[in-house]
Amino acid sequence: MSISRADIEKVAVLARIKVDGEQVSALEKDLGNILDLVDQLSAADTDSVEPMAHPLDAVQRLRPDVVTETNQREAFQSIAPATEDGLYLVPKVIE
């Protein structure tokens, strides 16, 4: 299975990763190889196998609705690049 340059460029945009022309060629080859490897799985007959939601054969434990977290804003914001008035600041996002 191969992956096209257009696919790579689209995924890069969606993931907000900047990829230049040369890198796209290299990724085309590398990702193609990985997909070929994974593709070998399709040789297995899975007609009678139910799709798996999770590799562990277990069910999710639920948590009671009780507040357990305390305010640690100061600690979290000490590692943020920019904050003001308790807000995290990010490059302008407006539609």
Binding site: D65, T68, E69, N71, F76, G86
Partner: protein, 483 residues
């Protein structure tokens, strides 16, 4: 050309849990920014989500109340998109196996008919944070307190054909979730948000047209306007021979304008996949039966009971049963003032008008049901006239005094209902108005007579310093004037 309008809704309902869907952070509204956003909510490396049992309980209660199948085994997917108010870079949501399967809700329409709207499914997911676009040195501010608040997203089938039906469904859903107590229903704070899918097709055609989605409508009025606006926009395009582009649109209620949200469309490749951090959730019979046992009286049952128990008409019963808090207020009023029709009129009239004027919810009312009930009692037993009762209501509302009887005494609003005293006042007034009496007595038209009675009421109210019982005055007048 005649067109059929096809409308489907997606409704985000914020669940009234104490904590977030995947962490023990508080969801209380109005906290300082980011004081309720902790390691899991901020997507710190190494953290793992643990689902909130109450969110599942509320979702199951919703499913039971909408006649739906409950997803006994549900799972979570990741919906990937990039936005700074979503720290993980994906929203944890449900796609393949939602907690609530197909169900339905019946809506009452203005013409007295009932329509069934099918619900495709409802799923659990997390809310995002809030972006504040005021200028922070050319940057945006992010508050993640809301990030991770549990939501159920309710997705209907395209079963509605008018704005009226869509709004009726939205109101019914609001009534249901507030009655269930699973959502505070406060739309101004975004507790319920509506996305409307609209398409047109030639009248009678079987094939659906291309639809658009208008997102994030947070009031019933805006929803109605947005539908009218979008229907007209699509009709103009189609009648000019154009085609509709499938897109997401934003509606600006203040300007009655909408525009395309193109950026959202470009990124509309969510690359869903099962969330490896969460195992499938299994809901057993005991959990479902426990949720069923917690179901309170629902709006339809309450409406029927209000008609039966209090003799209300269909309209009054519908209004008073629709909102859980208004219904509770009505019943509290009735505990203290037995006249149901009078209580219903006061709640729908003066009380609702004042709430609307001051943009208050029932919970924020400065007067209690017990106080209004006490007032209703005094109106019913003729202690105060309706004009006097309005003055008592004002005094209660402004907090001038909290006791109905004390207000009536202090303001001298007690009606004189002593017939002896009233009769002598009538005699006195009639003696002073011989011309009008003669005119009345020579009039044969009962309608004109009735009107002429009003001419005596003014002087009578003056003679009684406004305290005469108007109803009794009226009776005595008619009797005396008849000779």
């Amino acid at each position: 050309m005649q067109w059929d309008i096809v409308i489907g809704l997606e409704i985000h309902v914020q669940l009234a849990t104490k904590t977030k869907i995947f962490s023990g952070s508080s969801t209380a509204f109005g906290a300082e920014p980011n004081t309720q956003a902790n390691a899991v909510d901020l997507a710190m490396p190494g953290t793992l989500p643990v689902p909130n049992e109450q969110a599942f309980r509320y979702a199951v209660m919703f499913g039971l109340a909408t006649n739906a199948e409950i997803g006994r085994r549900s799972m979570f997917e990741r919906k990937n998109y990039f936005y700074p108010d979503l720290p993980k870079g994906y929203q944890t949501t449900q796609l393949a196996q939602p907690i609530v399967g197909p169900g339905h809700v019946d809506i009452d329409l203005a013409d007295g008919s009932t329509k069934r709207v099918r619900i495709h499914h409802a799923h659990l997911e997390e809310d995002a944070g809030k972006s504040l676009h005021e200028d922070y040195h050319g940057m945006s501010g992010i508050d993640l307190n809301r990030a991770g608040t549990p939501l159920i997203e309710v997705v209907t089938e395209p079963d509605m054909n008018t704005a009226e039906e869509a709004v009726a469904f939205a109101k019914k859903l609001h009534s249901l979730v507030t009655s269930l107590g699973i959502c505070d229903g406060d739309m101004s704070q975004g507790s319920m948000r509506f996305d409307v899918n609209i398409s047109l097709k030639p009248k009678g055609s079987e094939t659906l047209g291309t639809r658009t989605e208008t997102k994030n409508l947070n009031s019933f009025r805006f929803m109605e306007q947005a539908i009218a606006h979008e229907v007209e926009r699509q009709m103009d395009i189609l009648e000019d021979g154009g085609t509709i582009t499938q897109e997401t649109r934003l509606y600006n209620g203040d300007r009655d304008e909408s525009r395309s949200m193109r950026s959202k469309e470009e990124a509309n490749d969510y690359r869903y996949f099962p969330c490896p951090d969460l195992l499938p959730v299994e809901i057993d019979d005991a959990f479902i039966e426990d949720a069923r046992a917690r179901l309170p009286e629902l709006p339809d049952a309450r409406k029927a009971r209000f008609k039966e128990q209090y003799g209300l008409n269909d309209y009054d019963a519908g209004v008073l049963s629709g909102d859980a808090r208004l219904a509770a207020f009505f019943e509290e009023t009735l505990e203290h003032g037995k006249d149901a029709k009078l209580a219903a009129n006061w709640i729908q009239g003066e009380f609702s008008a004042r709430l609307n004027a001051e943009e208050k919810s029932v919970a924020e009312s400065p007067i209690s049901g017990a106080q209004l009930g006490a007032l209703v009692t005094r109106i019913a037993d003729n202690t105060v006239s309706s004009a006097g009762a309005k003055k008592v209501f004002e005094a209660l509302w402004s907090g001038e005094n909290d006791n109905v009887d004390a207000i009536i005494d202090a303001k001298g609003l007690k009606q004189v209902s002593d017939t002896g005293a009233l009769e002598s006042m009538v005699d006195e007034v009639l003696a002073g108005m011989p011309d009008q009496v003669a005119q009345y007595q020579s009039e044969d038209d009962p309608k004109k007579r009735k009107k002429m009675l009003g001419g005596f009421m003014g002087p009578l109210m003056k003679a009684s310093k406004g305290q005469g019982n108007p109803k009794l005055f009226n009776e005595i007048l008619v009797r005396k004037l008849a000779g």
